[in-house]
């Protein structure tokens, strides 16, 4: 075939009792701008009783191209299309539905695109009428989204993209594949699509091959179709066992969608009653124009019907009508997948072949940002498919795990004692802790020390080690993408001044409980290369410490006993001090284990800073918002301060906070560094701890006194009540009252103060 030659195209129109719209369609086909002899038309009229054949015969006389009529009585679109295809003489078969209105260039576009593709999908643009109901508007968006997806350069075609309303296929390919399946009754286009994908047919989408699609469906018909499709998918599964589990997205049990699935699968009166209710809700919502609720009701009804159809078909086949989400959790192992660094695009041919077979993983700056499993229903990979398919890979139905930002939220479902173990995902499977049968545990997933979140792992689950890394990478995909983007931004922004490794001038370990915890911590620090002489242990009621008045080059680390320093931690914590405007870096320690109910309660009452990213506090007000998670009985001191600042008073929490405040007031910044986090052993019991805590909060109230420069308009009562609220919300009301008493105030006084504004506050200062 020479490149200039156009392929002869046979247009096959399958119709059933739609005389009027067929007449318009034939008018459109008569007006095609393809050369004479370039096309012919076959109308396959299936079980028509409205005089359609007469209409076609009448049109034949005036029709500029060869026009033929095939009549079938099968009540089956697949059979009618096959009959039409058998009659067709062209090298290309263009299938059109009878509710399409072709644009003048339709046939030409299809013929041109057929030169280098096997299957060409045209753009059936939906046009809802002026009196369109909610369902038509909804359907329009659905169709347009589908075509827009196909128009994206990186779209990888699947069997679902084959839409029989407007597509063309080489006659040879169609016959080789065996045509439409006549036994299915529905979704015969998807089924043909599966066979074509298996034959590695080349799919393409042509927006220029335009037909206008007058939506002839209705809400009622769509709902009926859902039930038929549910059954058809079960049959498709039997025909193509390699696609089992790929057809329907099974939502997890325990969600609304999971419940709808179970109700549908059970069928019977339960499903009927639910559908009746949803049906009446649909009409009420539409009349009241409550579109959000209407969409929810429509989706729910569709889901119930789909699964009712699937359940009936499963029973017919003698299979159990139960579909659970458990079958979907199995994914291929990560180790087998080829890895593609996004900056090394486009990938080589070997990689593409391997990726089509095993799935693939894409990394950006070394951070995994997307992964794909092998998809038997998808066409082969091509280089362009790797150009950021990332926006589409956002949702992974398979292999999800529950995860939490706050370890206390991950506690329900676990039984105490719970151990919290770190999983450093950048190290691959070696970074995962060894999971043997044992008590419950919780995983803190990190990437290069950025904390991603906590994953509860009950005892029995821990045995399923296979695929755990893959699942962790998937559930933390969003923060990982943030880290990848951050690395890219930092690279683009140019390197900051690097300099040598910062080492602490002094490490102060505060002793919170009697025991060897502080000495153990000091030992660990020595392992990390901190000289013994630079480590001091701060006794609980010891004297105030004289700190070295260094020239501002070094740093002092404040920490507590029971912390277990790790390699890389010191560098991460001290990095923030490279900014000369930052004087203090604070971090948040996480519990190494939660052993008792008391500890669990304490953890639950502690608010938690979310997210893996560091940030700067630039003013006092913002710091005060952070007090609940910086200062709490279960939040130990963990900070690095620049040498030369005044020493915190005996290393108390309030002293620590007053240091932060005064630093901010002197124009310096405070940085929160989540990478400086460390595991910390919560004290099991803390005799006198409550009393000391009340003291701390009272001291906090004192150090939060408004600045002397405050202008009359300032909302100082907010500050006055701050200690009270922090204590009450952070610990208990009784403790808050006690700390207020220590401040020499009653609650009534505080309230009066808050109500009176700045004047009251001034009195309090005096």
């Amino acid at each position: 075939m020479s490149p200039g030659e156009t392929l002869r195209t046979s247009v096959i129109v399958c119709t059933h009792n739609r005389r009027d719209s067929l007449r318009d369609l034939l008018h459109g086909l008569a007006a095609q701008d393809s050369p004479p002899g370039g096309m012919d038309v076959v109308v396959a009229a299936d079980s028509c009783t409205d005089g359609t054949p007469g209409e076609v015969l009448e049109a034949m006389e005036r029709f500029p191209h060869p026009l033929e009529l095939v009549e079938t009585w099968a009540r089956n679109a697949a059979a009618a299309r096959n009959a039409g295809a058998r009659k067709a003489a062209g090298e290309v078969l263009l299938f059109l539905d009878d509710d399409m209105l072709p644009s003048p260039g339709l046939v030409r576009e299809h013929a041109a695109a057929q030169r280098d593709a096997g299957v060409v999908i045209g753009y059936a643009r939906p046009v809802p009428g002026a009196d369109a109901r909610l369902w038509q508007l909804h359907a329009r968006i659905w169709w347009e989204d589908r075509f827009r997806d196909m128009a994206r350069p990186h779209h990888r075609f699947s069997y679902q993209d084959l839409f029989s309303g407007n597509f063309s296929i080489k006659r040879e390919l169609f016959l080789e594949a065996g045509g439409f399946d006549e036994t299915l009754g529905r979704l015969e286009d998807y089924e043909l699509g599966i066979r074509l994908v298996k034959r590695n047919a080349l799919f393409t989408f042509r927006p220029g091959a335009l037909t206008l699609h007058r939506e002839s469906g209705s809400q009622q018909k769509w709902l009926q179709r859902q039930e038929l499709e549910g059954g058809t998918f079960v049959r498709l599964e039997a025909m193509h066992p390699e696609l089992r589990g790929r057809f329907h997205r099974v939502s997890p049990d325990g969600t609304l969608s999971g419940w709808l699935r179970h109700t549908g699968l059970r069928g019977g009166w339960g499903a009927r009653a639910l559908l009746d209710i949803l049906g009446s809700l649909l009409s009420v919502f539409e009349r009241m124009r409550l579109r959000g609720l209407w969409q929810m009701a429509l989706g729910s009804a569709g889901e119930v019907l789909y699964w009712r159809g699937a359940g009936a078909a499963l029973r017919e086949e003698g299979r159990s009508p139960v579909v659970s989400d458990a079958a979907q959790t199995e994914g291929p192992s990560l180790r087998e997948k080829p890895i593609l660094e996004a900056e090394a695009l486009p990938p080589g041919e070997t990689f593409i072949r391997e990726a089509a077979e095993k799935g693939y993983r894409i990394t950006l700056s070394g951070v995994p940002v997307a992964s794909a499993d092998p998809e038997p229903g998808l066409t082969l990979c091509e280089p362009r498919h790797f150009l950021f398919p990332l926006s589409l890979a956002g949702y992974h139905p398979r292999g999800t795990l529950p995860f939490f930002a706050n370890p206390a939220d991950a506690l329900p479902g676990l039984s105490l004692p719970v151990e919290i173990v770190v999983a450093d995902l950048e190290k691959g499977e070696e970074g995962l802790p060894s999971l043997v049968w044992g008590p419950d545990m919780m995983l803190l997933a990190r990437w290069e020390r950025y904390p991603l979140g906590y994953v509860p792992l009950p005892g029995p689950m821990r045995c399923e080690r296979r695929g755990l890394l893959e699942r962790l990478l998937r559930v933390f995909q969003e923060p990982l993408r943030g880290i990848a983007a951050l690395k890219l931004l930092e690279k683009e922004a140019g390197r900051g001044e690097s300099g040598g490794v910062l080492l602490p001038d002094l490490v102060l370990i505060r002793r919170r409980q009697p025991g060897p915890g502080a000495e153990e911590c000091a030992g660990e620090l020595e392992h990390l290369g901190v000289e013994r002489g630079k480590i001091r242990i701060l006794e609980r009621d010891g004297p105030r410490l004289e700190l070295p008045a260094g020239a501002g080059g070094g740093a002092i680390i404040l920490m507590e006993d029971g912390m277990m320093p790790e390699a890389g931690w010191l560098e991460a914590l001290l990095e923030g001090l490279r900014n000369p405007d930052v004087d203090i870096v604070v971090s948040q320690a996480f519990p190494a284990s939660i052993l008792t109910g008391d500890q669990a309660r304490l953890m639950r009452s502690r608010p938690w800073r979310r997210g893996p990213f560091p940030f700067l506090f630039e003013e006092r007000e913002r710091l005060l918002e952070a007090v609940p998670w910086l200062l709490h009985p279960s939040a130990p001191l963990l900070a690095a301060i620049r040498t030369g600042l005044p020493a915190p008073d005996r290393g108390s929490d309030a002293g620590h906070l007053s240091l932060l405040c005064s630093s901010l007031e002197s124009g310096k910044l405070v940085r929160y560094e989540p990478r400086g986090t460390l595991p910390w052993r919560l004290p099991e019991s803390d005799p006198g701890g409550r009393e000391r805590l009340a003291e701390e909060y009272a001291a906090l109230g004192r150090c939060l006194r408004p600045r002397s420069t405050s202008s009359p308009g300032e909302k100082t009562p907010a500050l006055a009540g701050f200690a009270w609220r922090t204590a009450k919300e952070g610990v208990s009301r009784a403790l808050a009252l006690r700390s207020l008493r220590m401040l020499g105030m009653t609650l009534a006084e505080l309230r009066a103060l808050s109500g009176r504004g700045a004047g009251g506050n001034a009195r309090r200062q005096g």
Binding site: L137, R148, L290, G482, A485, F613, A718
Partner: protein
């Protein structure tokens, strides 16, 4: 609220490398709009120390932009093909020639062609605007003698010849790539209206600070799409200072409601009401942060109170119209929810002394507006001279 200090507003382009921002005498903070290849990826409030913001501090704040940067990275991979339709820019103004001049200058720097710029002069009392426009090449002058911002918008929209009509205000300065970004959104046939972000041009007075603190035109830096379920919440789409609409949809929906917005008792709300009708027709609205304009907030100390009162009136006037004319029962739910979750919550926060962006007087002003809104609409519709 703390003592007010002016905040410097600066732009930083990441690809030009980070350098110290100097010349910030008199400022304690700077609002740094960080842009990467033209797209804003971060709006960082950074401390000014020794009259500058150091490159290191900007670098330390980069993690705050990580999520936004990702969404832009992903889009870089597949730029949408752009057709080149004629775009009409409509600027409605009334006796503010001193501001309009800068606005027209920024419109002259737009990179999009083909373009037509229409200035709609609404019931002018002087001919300053006409003289200014006539002296500016490439700008057309239209005079609309029916008072009301929405009348002017409809007049301009009707006269526009473009396939797409973009609207901005006379107190805004547009970015050179503004139209390009909006048109990119409208490539999607389901999107009928594209909106963008409006950054403050300056924060020099307490009034300008409070306007920003009250939310300003802030809708985040992540692109978003609203569908028909969002019709009662169309305010989330953006504002009339930065929007573009398909002319076809503009005509199909009948344009803006002349009983709403500036020049009527309802004071505002015309843009949001229009958005909600567009959504109800089954179209989508795309919010695109890379389409940015810079808005000059009003400086006078009493302006914020008036503006917030006007916003309160406008929102509830819009919901009243939705219920009265379009029989949108969702408006009842949204107005009750918004009153409880926004107005009452703000009031409680202020009364309980929790940290609140707004002082009591402004919270009350907005609430008074909210209560007056429904009557304002009915009055505008039935008792005005229109």
């Amino acid at each position: 609220m703390r003592e007010f200090h002016p905040i410097a507003v600066r732009e930083v382009h990441l690809e030009r490398g980070l350098t110290d921002l100097g010349g910030l005498e008199g400022y304690t903070q700077a609002l740094v709009v960080l842009r990467r290849r033209g797209q804003p990826i971060g709006e960082l409030l950074l401390p000014v120390r020794r009259n500058r913001v150091t490159a290191r501090t900007i670098r330390d704040a980069l993690p705050e932009c990580a999520r936004t940067a990702w969404s832009h990275l992903v889009r870089e991979g597949h730029p949408a093909r752009i057709s080149r339709p004629l775009v009409s820019v409509v600027v409605c103004t009334r006796d503010r020639a001193h501001w309009l001049g800068d606005c027209l200058k920024s419109l002259g720097r737009l990179t999009w062609t083909p373009l037509e710029i229409l200035v709609v002069d609404n019931c002018p009392t002087t001919d300053a605007t006409r003289r200014l426009v006539e002296a500016t090449p490439g700008v057309e002058y239209l005079r609309c003698d029916t008072p009301g911002l929405d009348n002017a918008r409809n007049f301009g929209g009707g006269a526009a010849r473009g396939e797409i009509v973009a609207f901005t205000d006379d107190d805004a300065r547009v970015d050179p790539g503004w139209i390009t970004a909006l048109v990119m959104c409208l490539e999607d046939p389901t999107v009928a209206v594209a909106t963008g972000v409006a950054f403050p041009l300056e924060i020099e007075t307490p009034a300008q600070f409070l306007f920003e603190a009250a939310g300003g035109f802030r809708r985040g830096l992540l692109p978003r799409r609203l569908g028909m379920a969002h019709a009662p919440w169309a305010g989330a789409a953006g504002a009339g200072v930065n929007m573009a609409v398909r002319k076809e949809v503009f005509l199909q929906t009948g344009g803006f409601d002349p009983y709403l917005d500036g020049g009527t008792p309802t004071l505002s709300g015309g843009d949001h009401e229009f958005f909600s009708r567009v959504l109800a027709r089954g179209h989508r609205i795309a919010y695109e942060p890379s389409a940015c304009v810079w808005h000059l907030h009003r400086k006078e100390s009493d302006a914020v109170g008036k503006t917030l009162f006007g916003y309160g009136v406008g929102v509830y006037a819009w919901w009243t119209r939705s219920l009265w004319v379009d029989r949108e029962y969702g408006a009842v739910a949204s107005s009750v929810l918004w009153f409880v979750h926004y107005h009452l919550r703000n009031l409680l926060r202020v009364l309980l002394g929790r940290s609140s962006p707004l002082p009591l007087s402004l919270v009350l002003a907005e609430m008074r507006g909210a209560l007056w809104g429904p009557w304002a609409y009915l009055r505008s519709r039935f008792f005005s001279r229109l």
